[in-house]
């Protein structure tokens, strides 16, 4: 079975969409025989501007360096981007969409015209504020993605992200614990 | 300071056979500087900016240098010596040398006041150990006497010529010493080859500072300034005696004037023997000399006041 999976992330500069895309690439690549690529479309965006990032996963070496993608999964990191970005662009017919929102699924499908797609919602902002005191939705969204795709178990994904954060060596224990909590909660709550 | 006889016994760092004009003071200044260097204690490595001095002393396959010497371009003597000095730190750290080496960058006013100012400022800010000597000949002499920001008010150069409407350079000379002062170096000074003992003292002091230092030296140019070759040192002396070129140091921000002429000569004495100022002496141009005198007096008074105040950084 091919592991090929193309993922697109929509967020705002400063929310960690690029970090999330790259973190996922790093996590997935730790598995033997799996390749990944993480990149973003860069402008001169300062904090707040909409940004797009990509993750490619494959069981072959990834050679394509173009920005073109027909994603299997699209993640919307910022609820305020609802309706501002074209989530469906290039999305495969049976594609999945994961939205960070406090709305329920039906409302989101209605709002974005996502009838026929596999839509999931998770309130990553609330989870993040509860666990970390700030709305940094990128790590909980990785937790939600792990659940939706089945790429990682809850333990695997929370352990993986925590190890990466620890490796960075610049985060206090409180932040690391908060991230662990946020990931696990998002993993459980995504629906 | 040792007697001249003792210095004359030393092996010279700069030798003859170079192609400088007869009466050029570039080599006079460098001979004095290298004689002052305490070469029993340390070795010297030099980086030179492109210019008269560089093309005349390093003309393949000849070199007039008895010390390690590098030239790469016009605007980068300071960043080049910074690189050499950085490598010296590595050699020291790795035990590749146990020698004490001191570094000198040499450039003229073009490579210092103008095109090389950025590299100089950067290298000073980073704190490399080097003495930067600027041989200020008041114009781009290597390319044929074009005006620089070091060209004094009123001087006729090939790009600030005396004409029927404009009489030479209309702007005063840049006060590079003040520009450099802003870097808060431990030691900067102004010197003249006419006052060799003073110049040598300054070089010796500067080379003993473990950091960047700067010496601005007047470098009379027989060709560009228009005076007979044998007058070169005399012109430098006149610059000093008229206070056109005050001899002073700024030590940790504190001004020390090294020479106060008992009889401060009028600027005419300095201007008169030089062709570049000849037009100032034409009837109707008296106000230009007055203006020149005013500028010189103003700066001299300011220096005196600074010395009197005794303030440092």
């Amino acid at each position: 079975m091919s592991k090929k999976l193309d993922i697109r992330w929509h967020g705002r500069a400063g929310q960690g969409a690029v970090t999330a895309a790259k973190t996922l690439a790093e996590l997935i690549s730790q598995e033997e025989g799996v390749y990944a690529q993480g990149f973003a479309v860069y402008g001169a965006e300062k904090r707040g501007a909409p940004v797009i990032a990509f993750t490619r996963i494959d069981d072959k070496v990834i050679r394509d360096h173009s920005e073109y993608m027909e994603p299997d999964i699209v993640l919307l990191l910022d609820p305020t981007l609802l309706g501002l970005v074209d989530v469906k662009e290039g999305l495969k017919d049976n594609g999945k969409v994961i939205v960070n929102t406090s709305f329920d699924k039906e409302q989101v499908i209605e709002e974005l015209g996502l009838q026929g797609y596999d839509v999931y919602v998770v309130d990553a902002n609330k989870i993040s504020i509860d666990a970390l005191g700030r709305a940094i939705p990128n790590t909980p969204m990785i937790g939600a993605l792990a659940k939706v795709t089945g790429l990682f178990s809850k333990d695997e994904i929370s352990k993986g992200v925590v190890e990466l954060l620890e490796h960075e060596g610049k985060f206090p224990q409180k932040i690391i614990d908060g991230n662990r909590e946020a990931i696990e909660k998002a993993y459980e709550e995504v629906k | 300071m040792a007697l001249l006889n003792d210095l004359a016994k030393k092996k010279e760092g700069l030798v003859n056979g170079h192609r400088l004009c007869p009466g050029c003071t570039h080599s006079v200044i460098m001979r004095q500087a290298l004689a002052a260097a305490d070469t029993d204690k340390y070795d010297i490595v030099i980086a030179a900016a492109t210019g008269c001095f560089e093309v005349s002393t390093g003309l393949y396959p000849y070199t007039s240098w008895n010390v390690p010497w590098i030239h790469s371009a016009f605007e980068n003597a300071a960043s080049t010596i910074a690189g050499v000095e950085a490598m010296y730190k590595v050699w020291k750290k790795k035990g590749k040398t146990n020698k004490d080496i001191r570094f000198i960058a040499v450039a003229s006013d073009g490579g210092t006041y103008d095109i090389g100012l950025q590299a100089l400022s950067g290298a000073i800010e980073r704190g490399h150990q080097f003495l930067y000597i600027c041989n200020d000949n008041n114009a781009y002499q290597n390319t044929g006497n074009q005006r620089s920001s070091a060209t004094p008010f009123g001087a006729s150069t090939t790009t600030s010529p005396n004409g029927t409407i404009i009489q030479g350079k209309t702007q005063p000379k840049k006060d590079i010493m003040s520009v450099l002062e802003g870097h808060h170096m431990q030691y900067i000074a102004q010197a003249s080859p006419s006052n060799w003992r003073d110049l040598m003292d300054k070089v010796k002091k500067a080379l003993d500072v473990n950091g960047p230092t700067y010496i601005n030296v007047i470098e009379p140019c027989t060709t560009g300034w228009g005076f007979p070759a044998h007058k070169a040192i005399e012109i430098a002396q006149l610059a000093v005696d008229t206070c056109v070129w005050p001899l002073y140091e700024v030590v940790e921000g504190k001004v020390v004037i090294n020479y106060k002429p008992k009889n401060k000569l009028p600027v005419e004495e300095y201007l008169k023997p030089q062709k570049r100022f000849a037009h100032l002496f034409k009837k109707g141009n008296e106000h230009l000399i007055e203006e020149y005198q005013k500028q010189v007096d103003k700066h001299w008074e300011w220096l005196l006041k600074r010395e009197e105040s005794g303030i440092s950084y």
Binding site: - | V15, N16, G17, Y62, W65
Partner: protein, 114 residues
């Protein structure tokens, strides 16, 4: 002087020169129109000529005392004469044309008789 110059595959890489101070072999004395002439009898060994010479052309013995002029390199600028502090100068200029074919003694006589 028909010296054979090196071919491209003989030159040292990077145009590096390994022979320090080799410009001494290039004689700039031929540039001279006038020459300084030294009178040892008048010389007080102040060495001002040495410290002001642009062409390192004041010959010095092992005691650091002046012994004459390096005419192979002296360009005849005349700074030494100008800076010689004695009223009755120990150095004076003489046209090369007037020195031609004469002995050192004759040159000195010629120069200082003026």
């Amino acid at each position: 002087m028909a010296e054979k110059l090196l071919d491209w595959n003989e030159v040292l890489i990077g145009a590096t020169i390994k022979d320090p101070g080799n410009s001494r072999s290039y004689e700039t004395g031929s540039w001279r129109v006038e020459r300084p002439v030294w009178n040892p009898d008048e010389c007080i060994q102040c060495m001002f000529c040495w410290v002001y010479c642009p062409d390192s052309s004041i010959l010095v013995d092992e005691n650091g005392k002046m012994t004459g002029i390096d005419y192979d390199h002296c360009k005849g600028c005349g700074i030494c004469v100008e800076q010689c502090p004695k009223k009755s100068k120990a150095l004076t200029m003489l046209l090369e044309a007037d020195a031609k074919g004469k002995s050192e003694e004759e040159i000195r006589k010629e120069a200082f008789s003026k």
